[in-house]
């Protein structure tokens, strides 16, 4: 407190000899403490504490209705030899990499389209975002019906077009199931990528393109040497979020397949739920969830590094 009091000499001189209470009332650190309190309380009680607790639980054999005892790395050793766990890791990586790459490609393409001049631009942009507004589970239910084994509209259309001759079992066959959940994820994620990249595109000055065109730049060159470098920082942020949310996805899988068929679509999050909550082995579930953390840190680090490097390049004038 002493350092704080000396930092407010003006107030002290003006009012003669103020009480410690009135000094405290004008102290910015003291006021800030109260202003930060509600947010800090929520984040510490329900975010920071559970995060630590989760790591601790992964070292115990806690089950629902029974407090666990410390078992060291037993949960992790168990998972290390568990083929289903490794299948879930593989599925999660496949799901994240394929879905994120395609979301980025289609999202960027859609953003470039939406950035061009056209009638009803505002309405079209508003429509594009609708898949992002509607709760994931509810649109996943629509996809469930679209992917139905017997009454799928896709199978029906393809049969009528003469491309296939029997229904595709979208969610019953392992490879089809993987492709189906990835497509549903892409459908859900493209609007977010497109609209945020569009916001970045709108900050690029048209005169840059005009100058490049005068210099004889092709469409591709203008994209490669103007649009892409100027867009890189926002691409890094958007893709970090996209990768993060895809990697930890739970609800789309749970609504569509619940990890089936034969665990082909189990992601680490769904496996964690199944082992932790449904089977009641909280410790093991927490270990699977904790195993996701290194992957998340790696994803954040890569995109952070990409962003920094680009800043440095721009700063040094190429």
């Amino acid at each position: 407190m002493s350092t704080v009091q000396t930092s407010l000499p003006a107030g002290a001189v003006a009012s003669g000899e103020p009480s410690w209470w009135s000094r405290l009332q004008t102290n910015r650190n003291f006021i800030a403490l109260w202003f930060m309190l509600p947010a800090a309380a929520f984040l510490i009680l329900f975010l920071a504490y559970p995060l630590g607790l989760g790591v601790w639980m992964s070292f115990t054999d806690e089950k629902i209705g029974r407090t666990g005892i410390f078992v060291g790395l037993e949960n992790y050793e168990w998972l290390w030899d568990d083929a289903i766990f490794w299948l879930a890791v593989f599925n999660t990586l496949l799901y994240t990499i394929v879905a994120s790459a395609i979301k980025f490609a289609i999202g960027l393409y859609l953003a470039l389209l939406l950035n061009r001049r056209m009638p009803f631009k505002a309405i079209i942009r508003a429509i594009v975002l609708i898949p992002f507004i509607v709760p994931t589970v509810l649109s996943a239910i629509a996809f469930w019906w679209i992917y139905d084994a017997q009454f799928s509209i896709i199978s029906w259309s393809l049969i009528k077009l003469g491309i296939i001759n029997h229904n595709i079992d979208f969610l019953g066959d392992t490879n089809w199931a993987r492709a189906s959940v990835i497509i549903a994820n892409i459908w859900r994620g493209v609007p977010f990528v497109a609209i945020t990249l569009l916001a970045g595109l709108q900050t690029v000055s048209p005169s840059l393109y005009e100058a490049a065109t005068l210099d004889g730049a092709t469409n591709w060159q203008r994209f490669r040497y103007i649009t892409y470098p100027l867009l890189t920082p926002i691409i890094a942020v958007v893709m970090t979020f996209s990768v993060l949310f895809t990697f930890t996805d739970f609800q789309l899988i749970w609504a569509l397949t619940r990890g089936g068929p034969v665990n082909a679509t189990h992601l680490m999050a769904t496996l964690s739920y199944q082992r932790g909550i449904i089977s009641g082995r909280l410790g093991e579930g927490a270990a699977i969830a904790t195993a996701m953390i290194p992957f998340l840190l790696a994803a954040i680090a890569i995109s952070w590094f990409g962003m920094q490097r680009r800043k440095w390049q721009q700063g040094s004038d190429q």
Binding site: Q25, R28, N29, F35, M36, L37, P38, A39, F42, L43, F46, L47, P50, G54, L110, L113, L114, R116, R117, A122, I127, L129, I130, I133, V134, P135, T136, V137, L138, S139, I141, A142, W145, I153, F192, T196, P206, Y209, E210, D215, G216, A217, N219, F223, R224, T227, I234, V237, F241, L244, T248, F250, W254, A255, M268, A269, S272, Y273, G285, A289
Partner: protein
């Protein structure tokens, strides 16, 4: 000027192959150089295809929810892309024979409660970080950003035992208390951006006139940041409505569930005729958000892009 541009444009076009069509032509200033057929192929056609794909599941959802059962399972007599004798049977069944209104109410209650708590906490925190400039304000700002990156999927198991310990299991109140951890980081960052744009001079004047920090916040800063508040509110509300894993884990009894959880768990009974009510449930659950969105599109977009751009 125009001639030069046209020349260089044609020269450029000669060297471009068809694969480069995917590349950009962004500037509004030069779009008159494009012919209509070219625009049709490079712009309107791909845009149309993408829009159709993005909207088809909703069309299908809406169509199924008003289709009579016999048309749902007979795809040869009737064209499945259309409905012949629409019926409100599914929606009626949903609203009067299930606990759907109750679930809708739960979702609304949780979303409004959690959003309100989060916005209050975020306004206070954002103001403290941006304007009080207390010791360690920057560190706190970064910590809050990192809190945004912690996904629910790694927290639901320990949170379940925390909620159990507090005696809040199977109560919507548990969600009202937990959802702010998803909403506060986002709203705080969004509001920090808005507060930064408010001139310091306004606050200095008020300080000289003897206003307290609290009065400055309530009477000057918050009224000036109303667009930001609306953005934060709508976005948070949508996130609450969308949240699934916490609601699935914490709520056990049927009447306490939220719409997304209830749809997934309560309608799935293996009945071949379930689809009508299932789609009706998904449609009715989506409508409140879509209507809200229709009124506040600009706020919504600015919330989404604002939080990403920091």
């Amino acid at each position: 000027m125009t001639d030069t541009m046209l020349q260089s444009k044609t020269a450029a076009q000669a060297t471009v192959n068809a694969a480069a069509l995917a590349a950009s032509d962004d500037s509004e200033g030069m779009s008159y150089l494009e012919s209509l057929p070219r625009r049709l192929i490079t712009l309107y056609l791909p845009l149309f295809v993408i829009l159709v794909v993005l909207l088809f599941p909703f069309y299908w959802m809406g169509l199924t929810s008003i289709k009579p059962d016999e048309q749902l399972i007979d795809m040869n007599t009737y064209n499945p892309f259309w409905v012949v004798h629409p019926t409100f049977k599914h929606i009626q069944k949903l609203l009067f024979e299930t606990q759907y209104p109750r679930w809708l109410w739960n979702t609304m209650y949780v979303a409004v409660g959690a959003t309100t708590l989060s916005i209050i906490a975020s306004v206070l925190a954002a103001y403290a970080i941006v304007r009080l400039r207390f010791k360690g304000a920057d560190t706190v700002g970064i910590l809050i950003f990192f809190a945004y990156l912690v996904p629910p999927s790694i927290l639901f198991i320990p949170l379940a035992s925390v909620i159990q310990a507090y005696g809040l299991f199977d109560s919507p109140l548990s969600l009202i208390l937990v959802y702010p951890t998803l909403l506060i980081p986002f709203s705080t960052w969004l509001l920090m951006g808005y507060f930064k744009t408010i001139p310091f001079e306004l606050e200095e004047c008020a300080l000289i006139d003897g206003a307290s920090r609290w009065q400055i916040l309530v009477k000057i800063v918050v009224p000036l940041a109303v667009p930001g508040l609306i953005s934060a509110f709508i976005f948070s509300f949508t996130l609450c409505w969308n949240e699934f894993i916490y609601a699935l884990t914490f709520l056990q009894s049927t009447p306490n569930k939220t719409v997304p959880v209830a749809i997934v768990n309560e309608f799935v009974d293996g009945d071949v005729y379930k689809w009508g009510s299932l789609m009706a449930g998904a449609l009715v659950g989506s409508l409140p958000l879509v209507i809200l969105y229709a009124f506040f599109v600009e706020h919504y977009v600015s919330a989404m892009t604002g939080a990403v751009k920091e």
